[in-house]
Symmetry: C2
Subunit: 104 residues, 2 copies
DNA sequence: TTGACATATCGAAAAAATCCGATATATAAT
DNA sequence: ATTATATATCGGATTTTTTCGATATGTCAA
């Protein structure tokens, strides 16, 4: 987790929004999980299409953003069938907040 | 203090270094304060020239960086004669770390 | 008041980020 | 097999950031 990559990932309104929406997925993505078979239930994860709709950017842009945020360590993903579910990597985010508090 | 501006300011190795150097000015800028008359003593502040020398970037670049970091709220400055001293805005930095911990 | 020095600002070239549509890939449904 | 759907990747146009040298401004010293 390179701090600079995290700062870059957070230097954009849309990406910052996505990260904050994913704090409360059921609130910001009410129809979330519609595609998920009950037995797998990826807790807190939201599929790309739902995020794209809310973000009001193109599909390729949102896919790119999510990939960037995942590489920075802020998100993690799992694929179920044709859907990719993204959710926050809370442990990494916590570590980053801790780093910021002590090192910056 | 716009979070996005702070993230942008921190998305650069040199600027991140400057902020960290200024945590311990006497350690990273041993000749610091040479120009300061004792009676004013801007605690923790370092002049642009000393920062530039350590950062190994051009004078205009460093001046620009410092201005950007100040606008973001991370630094504050005072001018004494022909020198401008920059130091960390600890309260703002603390607030930002707190924002990150609770809002991100 | 002239010259030297510190810093800020300007203008521009180069590099990187943004962001899209088109296309590829993978899976699912018929 | 074919078609439809979700996501990823590609290629490129546009915008923003980076970074510099040149110049302007402000201050001090002789």
């Amino acid at each position: 987790m390179e701090p600079i990559d995290v700062f870059k990932a957070l230097s954009n309104k849309t990406r910052l929004n996505i990260l904050q929406w994913l704090k409360e997925p059921e609130k910001h993505f009410p129809k979330q999980g519609a595609h998920l078979p009950k037995e797998v239930s990826y807790k807190g994860g939201v599929c790309v299409g739902d995020i794209q709709e809310k973000a009001e950017a193109s599909q390729s842009t949102v896919s790119h953003y999510l990939n960037m945020m995942q590489k920075a360590g802020l998100l993690e993903s799992v694929r179920y069938g044709q859907w990719t579910y993204y959710r926050r990597n809370e442990e990494a985010i916590r570590q980053f907040a801790e780093y910021l508090k002590t090192e910056i």
